[in-house]
């Protein structure tokens, strides 16, 4: 997929400047930058959730999103939380649950799972959609270091196994490193992409 962005603003306030971004299957990118710089806005544009911008987005890749919060359906059990949004069958959903280490939790509702388990469920849901490119928005924030480390290793393994591409939005360069993602820095006002990490 390829994004040629001219500008994105909220009202009169410009958020993102001209930038171009291309990612394909198997390729991993990380968009780094401080909070409030427009990283999530950029990801929402890539995901097709925000269409109010100047520029163009091409590509017919299958996308899946892992949001900052798990964003699960609280009234459906773990299997249905994978099967309903992705349209996969229950057996596939169970298989993905097992792959993220949630075997035995199939019939549980989200609030019966810990935050770490909910995030793994959201990860399983994203992979069950068989994406060409996975979009992740700070998915390891608010996890303790140990859980975050395990989530990173799991994501890396699943990305390698499925061959999906990745666009990761994060403020932590170590996450990009752990996922072997090419770091791109979002900086400036309005924000633009820089290929190299700035050294302050």
């Amino acid at each position: 997929m390829r994004l040629e962005l001219e500008a994105k603003s909220f009202g009169a306030r410009p958020v993102l400047g001209a930038l171009s971004l291309a990612v394909s299957r198997g390729e991993r990118l990380a968009i780094l930058g401080p909070s409030g710089i427009g990283k999530s806005t950029l990801l929402r544009i890539l995901a097709g959730l925000d269409r109010a911008y100047r520029g163009r987005l091409d590509g017919a890749d299958r996308l899946a999103v892992v949001f900052q919060e798990p964003v699960l359906l609280p009234w459906r059990d773990a299997v249905a939380n994978i099967a309903i949004p992705t349209g996969c069958d229950a057996a596939t959903a169970r298989d993905w649950l097992a792959q993220v280490g949630l075997a035995g939790h199939e019939a549980k509702f989200p609030r019966q799972l810990s935050l770490g388990q909910q995030r793994r469920l959201a990860l399983a849901r994203a992979f069950a959609a068989a994406p060409d490119i996975l979009l992740m928005d700070e998915p390891f924030a608010s996890l303790d270091a140990e859980t975050a480390g395990r989530m990173l290793a799991l994501t890396d393994a699943l990305l390698t196994r499925s061959g999906a591409g990745l666009v990761l939005v994060t403020h932590d360069p170590r996450e990009a490193e752990a996922l072997h993602a090419r770091p791109l820095q979002l900086a400036g006002q309005p924000a633009r992409l820089q290929t190299r990490l700035q050294k302050d």
Partner: protein, 260 residues
């Protein structure tokens, strides 16, 4: 050593509920015995005997059945139309701005005016009766569902869009579960309001049903009869609440419970 925590009773409030009913019954009995004119306030057993006779002749089932049919039909119509309008107005600001004045007017037109106009314009028939009741209820359902729709979670909306969920799947799995408490409240408030309006509609322009019977009994000042019909139908409505609405609500709210 601590004891095991007492498991919560499966029917909390059952005992106070029954006791409160018995107290009301006792009060009624006392009042009926103190009054010197039994026609004004008959004893509970007189009313019970009348209900028994009505049930035995089959009159009760025919008329209560007709009333129940009208309640069901207008309830279904009001809920369907109210939910569609409420969702539309809650989702699209334009629809809300255009339809809101009409909604406020409809909310404030007296039920009796709607009923009389429906009978005059459509005729003294079943369509007019059911439509008149539904029209009285639609604005109330619309307002309740609109408020619920405005409170829908935007993050779940994003998720559904990001995963390209089909519109029907989104409605069924994302929108309706969030609206369930509002739908239940609208249904609960609706069903009691509707059956009262159905009685007025029957009183004014139908030749069967509980309202029609009460019309006849009113002309002969037969309080026992009026109470018999009213209580019999209240029992029917309570049964619907207990055996249909409550189990549905319990099922819809299952996900709120923690693991056993």
């Amino acid at each position: 050593m601590t004891g095991t925590p007492k498991p919560p009773s499966p029917r909390p409030g059952l005992v106070p509920g029954v006791l409160s009913l018995l107290a009301m019954l006792l009060l009624w009995t006392l009042a009926s015995q103190l009054t010197d004119r039994p026609q004004t306030l008959p004893a509970p057993w007189d009313v019970a005997a009348r209900i028994g006779r009505l049930a035995a002749t089959g009159e009760l089932w025919l008329n209560a059945g007709m009333t129940l049919f009208r309640v069901t039909a207008s309830f279904a119509l009001a809920m369907a139309a109210g939910m569609a309008l409420g969702l539309w107005m809650g989702r699209w600001r334009g629809a809300d701005q255009w339809l809101n004045p009409g909604l406020i007017i409809l909310l404030n037109v007296p039920a009796l005016v709607v009923i009389v106009l429906c009978y005059i314009w459509i005729g003294l028939n079943e369509t007019a009766a059911i439509l008149a009741v539904a029209l009285n209820k639609i604005p109330v359902v619309t307002v309740m569902i609109r408020e619920g729709t405005r409170a829908l979670r935007p993050d779940l909306d994003d998720m559904a869009r990001a995963f390209r969920m089909a519109p029907l799947a989104r409605l069924r799995h994302v929108v309706l579960p969030q609206l369930a408490p509002h739908i239940a409240a609208a249904a609960r408030a609706g069903i009691s309001l509707i059956w009262k309006i159905v009685l007025v509609v029957e009183f004014l322009g139908r030749s069967n049903g509980v309202g029609f019977k009460i019309h006849l009994l009113f002309s002969s000042f037969d309080v026992t009869g009026v109470l018999a019909w009213a209580l019999a139908f209240v029992a029917v409505m309570l049964a619907i609440d207990l055996f249909l609405l409550r189990p549905w609500e319990a099922r819809a709210n299952r996900w709120r419970q923690d693991a056993a």
